[in-house]
Symmetry: C2
Subunit: 104 residues, 2 copies
């Protein structure tokens, strides 16, 4: 919910990968677990942290828990990034082009 929580939640590679995986669509915990080389509790813990940061939302259905990305949760991060993009737009965008292999 706070900016600091968002940065910390996305700092861990596995947790960030979980978030990115959910970006492709809603998924149950067990379905997520099948995609990663960690235990089910580890997945649940990552999801709890992402949820606390406002980055994902949960939907219960019987004994299943379906998680999905909460796009609004990224707004504080988008906002933070935009502050610096506004400062140095040309330099950042130019490097982005380079990273994408584009020639000016």
């Amino acid at each position: 919910m706070i900016q600091a929580d968002i940065f910390r939640a996305l700092a861990d590679p596995t947790r960030r990968a979980v978030f990115e995986r959910l970006a492709s669509g809603e998924m149950s915990v067990s379905a997520l677990k099948a995609r990663f080389a960690v235990s089910q509790p580890a997945i649940s813990q990552h999801l709890a942290m992402l949820k606390a940061a406002g980055l994902v939302a949960e939907r219960r259905e019987g004994r299943f828990s379906y998680y999905r990305v909460a796009p609004e949760g990224l707004a504080p991060l988008v906002d933070w990034v935009d502050r610096y993009r506004a400062f140095w737009p040309e330099r950042i965008d130019r490097l982005k082009d380079v990273l994408k292999g584009l020639e000016p």
Copy 2:
């Protein structure tokens, strides 16, 4: 230099604050130290990590070391954020308006 390093470098509140402080202009280590309630080695360690992540650059002048933001270092983060902004532009931007107290 790698995306993971950037997220981790910005995850710590103090280190992120150091980066944000440098965004207002180049500054020596001692000048930075005066702004934070931590020791000089702590500042140097944060700067070393930000530098390793490509987020700041250093300029030596005599016994002074001046640090400044390296805007291109933010490109991978900007790129990551843009991927999700492209997914859900309206939802993110709408919340950003709400956060800024704007009415549609």
